[in-house]
């Protein structure tokens, strides 16, 4: 019987490991569709940024309530994983509480600590569920937050509650069994949180408690494996992606737009500053119509987005009812990557047009509020500008007023239709005013 459990456990471990491996390779391939990119700034500074933002959750505390709840779930997740290590080893070797004899009385302290964290996770997740579904917090109810994104967010919270409830119930049954002197059930000492659940399972037969203890053990660990697979399909992937994403983000001023070096060469030739190089072919296209024309960092951004909507809540265009939502830009980029990854890039669809509409990118004021708001250094603005570049330089499609503005710059060296010879008229006005 014990062997059967061990074999079952190993099969489960193997299957989930394989599924995660397949999925991670797929995501990696998708991100690699992007163009080359080199982050600006020394790696030590970027490492510091990663430690502050991803490890330290610095920006999450811009909204203190959500920040504290999120932090509880985060440390719960990270630290309870130490116990998961024990559970996995128990599963492989068919042991029970492998670490208990090694750690002695410290083991009980440790498990008590994990239980407090588990309670913190449950409370935080419940509050998050209320915030999402009962309180009318605007950013959770935007037009892009229906169907799967809405379900995804709730599922994550519910699964986390179930996992934590399972671990506490497992410990409650474990304690009942310890008291009953059941075989293999090592003394753990009093576990204060799960103790509160004992009345739920007390007064049953020892066999029933044994069954329940095993049941919750399996729910917990199988749940974790299933959740780990699920995460790779979910917005919850941010728990891993936050780290590389902050590390590879730029440190240059937010106002700086990436220079197109291809264009620099062309312009230099046009201005007679450089001779055309013999066979160098002109660049094939400008800007981005699809995900493969964005940088791999833009694509990594999309997989790092957890759809919290802090960007959209700060976006002036969105606040005033325009179609643009920076969060949707990121979700669309990820959805198109998934689509292209599954069905090929050449499936007749494009990021610009089929996913992101012209009206959205035309509403952007490039104010950087979305970039500033993102807790994990995602840059929706860069994608918007790359799409605009495609619209203007490849399709020559601009709003007529912009065409006029550009013609003015070309002819009058100012965005308005004034004669360049009048540019200095203000000086004479000032002299005569004085």
């Amino acid at each position: 019987m014990a062997y059967l459990e061990q074999i079952g456990f190993l099969i489960l471990l193997g299957i989930s490991g394989w599924l995660i491996y397949k999925r991670v390779s797929f995501i990696k391939r998708n991100i690699n569709m992007g163009q080359s990119y080199k982050p600006k700034g020394p790696s030590s500074e970027r490492f510091k940024k990663m430690m502050l933002l991803a490890f330290g959750q610095k920006k999450m505390f811009d909204k203190p309530v959500a920040g504290i709840m999120h932090f509880l779930i985060y440390i719960g997740f990270v630290l309870i994983n130490i116990e998961v290590l024990e559970i996995i080893l128990d599963g492989i070797f068919g042991t029970h509480r492998l670490f208990a004899p090694v750690l002695g009385s410290f083991y009980s302290t440790l498990i008590n600590f994990f239980e407090i964290l588990a309670l913190g996770v449950i409370v935080s997740c419940l509050i998050f569920l209320i915030r999402r579904n009962v309180l009318s917090i605007d950013r959770f109810h935007k037009s892009e937050m229906t169907a799967w994104p809405k379900l995804d967010a709730n599922l994550i919270l519910i699964i986390e509650i179930v996992l934590m409830f399972a671990i506490l119930s497992m410990n409650a049954n474990d304690q009942i069994l310890q008291n009953a002197g059941a075989e293999h059930y090592t003394e753990t000492g009093s576990l204060f949180i799960s103790e509160m659940l004992i009345p739920l399972y007390n007064g049953m037969s020892v066999e029933m408690n044994l069954l329940l203890e095993r049941f919750f053990w399996w729910i917990h660990i199988a749940g974790i494996f299933a959740f780990a697979v699920y995460v790779t399909y979910s917005k919850h992937l941010h728990i891993f992606m936050a780290f590389p994403n902050t590390y590879f983000s730029n440190l240059s001023a937010k106002g700086k737009i990436k220079n197109m070096d291809d264009v620099s060469n062309e312009v230099k030739i046009m201005l007679g500053m450089q001779q055309p190089e013999g066979d160098a072919p002109p660049p094939s296209s400008f800007g981005a119509k699809d995900v493969n024309q964005l940088s791999w960092k833009n694509l990594m951004d999309a997989y790092s987005c957890t759809e919290c909507g802090r960007c959209t809540a700060e976006c002036p265009a969105n606040i005033t009812g325009k179609k643009l939502s920076p969060r949707k830009i990121m979700m669309d980029t990820r959805d198109r990557m998934e689509d292209a990854g599954k069905h090929g890039l050449e499936n007749g669809k494009f990021l610009l047009g089929d996913f992101i509409k012209e009206e959205e990118i035309m509403a952007c004021t490039s104010c950087n509020a979305c970039v500033e708001a993102c807790p994990v250094s995602i840059n929706p603005l860069e994608i918007i500008l790359e799409l605009r570049r495609y619209k203007v330089m490849e399709e020559s499609k601009t709003p007529p007023e912009w065409t006029a503005m550009m013609t003015n710059i070309e002819n009058n060296f100012a965005p308005w239709a004034f004669s360049p010879s009048d540019r200095f008229n203000w000086a004479n006005e000032l002299k005569s005013e004085n």
């Binding site: 240059s252 001023a253 937010k254 106002g255 737009i257 220079n259 197109m260 264009v263 620099s264 312009v267 201005l271 400008f286 800007g287 700060e314 002036p316 265009a317 606040i319 005033t320 009812g321 325009k322 179609k323 643009l324 009206e359 035309m362 509403a363 952007c364 004021t365 490039s366 104010c367 950087n368 509020a369 970039v371 500033e372 500008l385 605009r388 570049r389 203007v392 330089m393 709003p399 007023e401 912009w402 503005m405 550009m406 710059i409 070309e410 060296f413 100012a414 965005p415 360049p420 010879s421 009048d422 540019r423 200095f424 008229n425 203000w426 000086a427 006005e429 000032l430 002299k431 004085n434």
Partner: protein
């Protein structure tokens, strides 16, 4: 009879073999927009009063290319940038002061990629330095003493370049009562004009961005909305007019505050 105001151009100085300490980059709005020309003039008066060795490019100045780049026209941007760099380098310019955050951002952050390297200051930073160094003395008990002034952060000065303190230091130097809007500094709300929006109608929505921002500014009860950007100036002035408050609430640039004090 006041002393005649001096507005030397680079060409004049170069002919005399002289170099200015700073180039005042006026910008297109500062040159052509009737409202922002007043800001240009205020700055010139301050520079004259302090006897600062400056020059302007005059008719040799040209759009930095900022709106073209933000609209997506990289070719036009780089054409403008490269010819501007030729002019600036031709005169050996090292230090630039400008009253336009868009010009400031482009000259400071984007020209280096194309070979143009200058020390670029926004006029709020320059004014702050002048005050700190004791060159620019603010008369005590001036016009704005105790007045409620709110500062509207320009995105290209604030978030884009992290300049939040300099403009506030200038307002505080006037002994004014600086009041903040709900959304300020890193969370400041855009006026609606950046990213080349200044040059086209807004996309369909349920409100104009400048109205949203003006409402927020008016909520502070400030008598003056201080701005530091030509586009913000236009948007906020229009917003105040829309709310029919132009008689009681003024939209003024930092340089105008100093000049009027």
């Amino acid at each position: 009879m006041p002393e005649e105001i001096k507005i030397p151009t680079m060409a004049e100085l170069a002919a005399e073999g002289r170099n200015p300490e700073i180039l005042f980059w006026v910008g297109c709005a500062g040159s052509f927009d009737d409202r922002y020309k007043k800001v240009t003039k205020a700055i010139i008066r301050i520079l004259n009063k302090l006897d600062i060795n400056f020059a302007v490019l005059g008719t040799e100045e040209s759009c930095t290319g900022d709106p073209a780049r933000r609209a997506g026209n990289e070719f036009l941007f780089q054409m403008q940038a490269m010819s501007n760099i030729q002019v600036l380098d031709g005169y050996g310019i090292k230090k630039i002061v400008t009253a336009c955050p868009h010009c400031f951002n482009t000259l400071k952050n984007e020209y280096p990629d194309l070979g143009g390297n200058y020390e670029v200051l926004h006029h709020s930073q320059y004014l702050q330095t002048l005050i700190k160094d004791g060159k620019l003395k603010i008369a005590e008990g001036g016009k704005f003493k105790g007045q409620k002034i709110t500062f509207h952060d320009s995105c290209y000065l604030g978030r884009a370049n992290g300049v939040y303190e300099a403009p506030r230091a200038v307002i505080e130097a006037l002994d004014a009562d600086l009041v903040e809007m709900k959304r300020c500094k890193t969370k400041g709300l855009c006026c609606g004009a950046g990213g080349a929006q200044m040059f086209k109608d807004a996309e369909a929505g349920n409100k104009e961005i400048n109205i949203e921002r003006t409402e927020e500014a008016l909520e502070t009860g400030a008598e003056v909305i201080a701005a530091a950007c030509p586009f913000c100036m236009t948007m906020m002035s229009d917003g105040v007019k829309n709310k029919e408050k132009e008689k009681t609430v003024k939209v003024l640039d930092l340089a105008e505050l100093i000049d009027l004090n």
